[in-house]
């Protein structure tokens, strides 16, 4: 799987409608190859644009615009590749994001999820669900989630991928009712875990491995604000009688939050804060966002004051 198949990399400060515009262009371009896809294209673009304009309105009038990024998270997930078994003969498709095909009947081909969904809607292919969508694997993961405090290894976008597959290709998933309820259970258990973890953090080091995109997206607005508040209060507390923290303190007394995500690189840090480091050293500088990458595929973002 290629970690990067994006034609455009956008900096984090791009507003939502604008970034959607760019992505639209890509989908438009790709979909123009299919004359029969025009209808879908327009409806799809309209739905995305309407959600985009709603977001821009929110951005203008309320500080909570961060919370409505779910559609964007789903959009990202559509770039994950999935195997399909086409039942038509078609030449290779050359897109900006990569070349897919050629398609021969009954020969498995890897395509991005959005293309798979588009083909599946027209009955041109059957989707082969990824290996992790199986009752055995999911049962094991669910038990692991219940037994230990740590998050089990699941694909970074498991919520979105499973949702898309269940919406558009439910017949292609073996034992789908069982699988669906297992995934729901796993999500509930994991979200409960996220909440108990959130209770513990007090402006110092926190490391959570294997969090998924949607889980991060749900808590992003809340935890970002909470961290800022904690940081602000720590600033006003006199250093000599600072209350002893249960969390281990970093030697230079910088409050830190560190959420480590294994899996797919999150290429622009808009959707995630992975490492937020609050620097005490510089006081009132404007926040600068900076994207780091390290060896174990963790996207990290530093927020500097």
């Amino acid at each position: 799987m290629k970690p990067y198949n994006k034609p455009y990399t956008l900096p984090a400060f791009f507003s939502l409608p604008f970034s959607f515009f760019f992505f639209e262009r890509r989908k438009e371009k790709t979909l123009l190859h299919f004359s029969s896809f025009k209808e879908t294209k327009t409806t799809y673009v309209c739905s995305l644009l309407s959600s985009g304009s709603q977001d821009s309105a929110q951005q203008l009038y309320s500080p909570l615009s961060l919370s409505d990024f779910v559609a964007q998270v789903e959009f990202m997930a559509e770039d994950e590749t999935v195997g399909i078994v086409p039942n038509l003969h078609m030449e290779a498709l050359n897109f900006i994001c990569g070349d897919y095909g050629p398609f021969y009947p009954q020969i498995i081909t890897e395509v991005p999820l959005w293309l798979a969904v588009a083909l599946r809607k027209r009955g041109k292919c059957a989707v082969r669900p990824p290996e992790w969508i199986s009752v055995d694997n999911l049962t094991r993961v669910l038990e692991g989630e219940r037994d230990s405090q740590a998050f089990q290894a699941l694909p970074f976008r498991y919520v979105e991928i499973s949702r898309l597959l269940f919406d558009h290709a439910p017949e292609d998933i073996p034992e789908r009712y069982m699988v669906r309820s297992l995934i729901e259970d796993i999500r509930d258990v994991r979200f409960h875990k996220v909440q108990t973890n959130l209770e513990k953090f007090t402006a110092s080091a926190v490391t959570w491995k294997n969090m998924s995109a949607m889980e991060v997206n749900i808590i992003r607005a809340f935890s970002g604000r909470a961290l800022q508040a904690f940081y602000m209060h720590e600033q006003s507390t006199p250093d000599s009688d600072r209350a002893p923290d249960t969390q281990p303190q970093i030697p230079n007394n910088r409050p830190r939050l560190r959420v480590t995500i294994r899996g797919h690189i999150f290429f622009h840090g808009l959707l995630i804060f992975a490492i937020v480091v609050c620097h005490c050293a510089t006081t009132c500088a404007a926040p600068r966002w900076q994207l780091l990458e390290s060896t174990e595929f963790e996207a990290s973002m530093m927020m500097k004051w």
């Binding site: 919370s67 409505d68 990024f69 997206n217 607005a221 720590e234 006003s236 209350a243």
Partner: protein, 189 residues
């Protein structure tokens, strides 16, 4: 971090603080009811924070802690911070405290960080679990910052639920939704 045009930041500085004048000030009146055209040394008054801070820097006044940081509130917060009605005391309890702490009483910093730590957990619990019907009861106790936190959590949760419920779902057949007429059975032979 504070933005010059941040409306919350401006409103925080509008809060009144009790001050004690160290110097006599000529040509000003504290309010319209005073007859004298100057302020005597040692007189007490309440000034908005932005003015009090400037005067404090010039050593003209001494700031003492305002009513929302008084002893009674401290005791209440120590007892159970989660139940204290901070909203009626001061909308911007935390921000005001942060600004005030270096000027008048250093222990305010400790107080607010303690209060926030406890109340943060309350907000966290309630934001993700409670339905909207009971939300109004909790919201009356929260300060501005806590309300923002609460709403951030609620709206991202709501957005997620909406996303999960959206898309092609099962629809009820038109036959099922119809109400059967009471006399329908009687007409049958």
């Amino acid at each position: 971090m504070a933005n010059y045009y941040d409306i919350d930041d401006i409103l925080v500085e509008e809060e009144f603080v009790p001050v004690l004048f160290n110097k006599a000030v000529n040509g000003v009146r504290i309010d319209e009811s005073t007859e004298k055209g100057f302020v005597e040394e040692g007189s007490k008054s309440e000034l908005p924070f932005w003015l009090a801070r400037e005067l404090h820097l010039r050593k003209a006044v001494t700031i003492s802690s305002p009513s929302c940081f008084n002893h009674a509130t401290r005791v209440e917060i120590q007892a159970d911070a989660g139940c204290v009605d901070l909203r009626s005391r001061c909308q911007y309890f935390y921000e005001f405290g942060c600004k005030l702490a270096p000027l008048c009483d250093k222990t305010i910093g400790l107080l607010i960080s303690h209060a926030f730590r406890i109340r943060y957990k309350e907000v966290l619990h309630k934001a993700h679990t409670t339905a909207c019907a009971t939300a109004s009861k909790i919201l009356t106790l929260l300060t501005k910052e806590e309300t923002n936190l609460y709403e951030a959590a609620q709206s991202s949760m709501a957005a997620f639920r909406k996303w999960r419920m959206g898309g092609p779902t099962l629809k009820m057949a038109s036959v099922l939704g119809r109400k059967r007429k009471p006399d329908e059975g009687l007409l049958l032979p």
